[in-house]
Amino acid sequence: MPSTGMARRVQISVLRCIPKRLRWGAAQLIADTDTAALRKVVQAAIDGGRIGVPKFLRCLARTRDRHQLASSLDELVALAEAWFGSRPRQRYRLGEEGGAYLTELIKWPEGQGALLTVSLAASDGPPALDLMLVGSRGTLYHDEPHSA
């Protein structure tokens, strides 16, 4: 449903006040994407064996708020944990909260990996969530609007 950028930003900031463990199932947004719905549909694809065993998640999210980089990145890590079914063993971070971006290259004990980035959208550009979940025999994409 179309909504204004201001309304979306308010929704995100309200969600940040809610403990993460209570948020699943509610409407959650990263870069204007309803991650609860996304998590569910991706999980269904995984459970249906459509990509084989999930192996690597690459996620590039764009937000308008430089102070939501870390919280958005945490949400992406939570998605990866859910789809891989375990917690990571090593996280390597580049960038800083309040800057232009935050990136983590993450390793799991069972060999999976993730490369997750949240960066600032251009002032006239849309927030976006560009996701590629690579499985042992197939790959799942959630594409973003392109700037070029």
Binding site: G52, V53, K55, F56, R58, L60, R62, Q90, Y92, L94, G95, G99, A100, Y101, T103, L105, K107, P109, E110, G111, Q112, G113, L115, T117, S119, L120, A121, A122, S123, G125, D130, M132, V134, S136, R137, G138, T139, E144, H146, S147, A148
Partner: protein, 386 residues
């Protein structure tokens, strides 16, 4: 000069098949011969002979003899990774221009030797990348025009949708090794090495910066063939570049059916004015109709990963026709070769010269060390490593 004689140092089942086709179609060039190192250190002289026969060219089984010819001006050099250092140095020392297969070599020692030879040489050296693709040039223009503000970070990815994925044994967890003893196999290649080098090239195209440290991860996610020879089929790198800029890169091979075309190619540039994304398959049209969908091609026993041309027409993969890019008939390698010849004619240094190519190789080699140790590795690598 508009007629450059090109010597092919490479064989069947190597990238020389595509290099030769591009040089043959280049109006300023003509193919002269195929040559191999004397003594056949690669053990596949018959494949050199085979390529010469197919191209109706003379085969010279002694590289030095071929390099002594006055009608050879350019060498297209695609020997096995293990021989790239020795071959490139001899070609440069013979005064030839050298178009190099990627990655540059298999060790920092070989790369250093090529860089040193290129500094002494009268000829130019350029390594093949995909940096001449229109979408990469668009990214470079956007950065130069300041459209992302001050550049802070770059992400680049290249994955090849080839090979029959899904054969990797359950519960395979890759244990990376710090040093690589062998690069060349029939059934598989080191995919971070061979494919992520394109992503690193994209990063260099838009930043022009060298890496100061690397943190990397490798995986065996898709193919039993790669597990069988203990090489990775996927890799990811995170780098700190000069000037406080950072970059991430992905490279790998993930199966015929994992992408509507040849595989993702993407460059994301993050700056103080926002983020811009550039994609090798955007813009495009998409065509859905009653034509049959792409299906996994028959397994080519001589090339199970689809690395080279099919060994028999019945193994030729059908085209993927759902996505159609407006410029996909343009060959990136043809543009890269044309740019190389422009550099020769205008006395200009190629953008991906031996020094830049060596810096990309060093990132990859440091990536293996990082993935083995699970720690960040500083660059440059120490030169006294075995």
């Amino acid at each position: 000069m508009t007629d450059y004689g090109v010597l092919l140092v490479g064989c069947k089942r190597s990238h020389q098949e595509s290099h030769a086709a591009v040089f043959a179609a280049q109006p300023r060039c003509r193919l002269v011969a195929v040559a191999a190192e004397a003594g056949d250190p690669e053990g596949r002289v018959h494949q050199y002979q085979q390529l010469a026969d197919e191209l109706n060219l003379p085969f010279i089984p002694d590289l030095d003899e071929a390099l002594a010819r006055d009608d050879v001006h350019i060498v297209s050099s695609t020997p096995a990774v293990e021989r790239r250092g020795a071959v490139a140095v001899r070609c440069l020392e013979a005064g030839k221009h050298v178009y190099l297969d990627k990655p540059l070599a298999g060790s920092v020692e070989d790369a250093d030797a090529i860089v040193a030879a290129s500094r002494r040489a009268v000829g130019r050296a350029q390594m093949f990348t995909q940096n001449e693709a229109g979408w990469v040039k668009a990214a470079r223009r956007a950065v130069q025009e300041g459209r992302v503000g001050e550049i802070k970070a770059v992400h680049a990815e290249t994955l090849f949708s080839k090979g029959r994925a899904g054969s990797v044994p359950d519960a395979t967890v890759r244990r990376e090794k710090e040093s690589v003893e062998r690069w060349t196999f029939v059934e598989a290649k080191r995919e971070m090495f061979d494919v992520a080098v394109y992503s690193l090239g994209f990063i260099h195209a838009v930043t022009g910066l060298k890496a100061e440290s690397v943190f990397a991860h490798t995986g065996n996610y898709f193919f039993a063939e790669h597990v069988g020879v203990d090489v990775e089929d996927f890799g990811a790198l995170a780098m700190k570049l000069e000037g406080g800029v950072t970059a991430t890169a992905i490279g790998g091979r993930f199966g015929w059916m994992s992408h509507p075309k040849s595989g993702p190619q993407r460059l994301v540039v993050m700056g103080t004015a926002g983020t811009m994304t550039f994609d090798g398959f955007h813009p495009r049209i998409e065509v859905y109709n009653d034509e049959p969908d792409f299906a996994t091609p028959l397994l080519d026993p001589l090339d199970p990963m689809g690395m080279w041309g099919a060994s028999n027409p019945r193994f030729e993969p059908p085209p993927k026709r759902r996505w159609v890019g407006p410029y996909e008939e343009r060959s990136t390698m043809a543009a890269d070769v044309a740019a190389f010849i422009d550099c020769i004619e205008r006395g200009r240094e190629p953008q991906v010269n031996a020094e830049v190519a060596a810096s990309l190789l060093e990132v990859l080699l440091a990536g293996y060390i990082s993935a083995a140790r699970n720690e960040e590795i500083a660059l440059p690598l120490p030169r006294d490593r075995a």
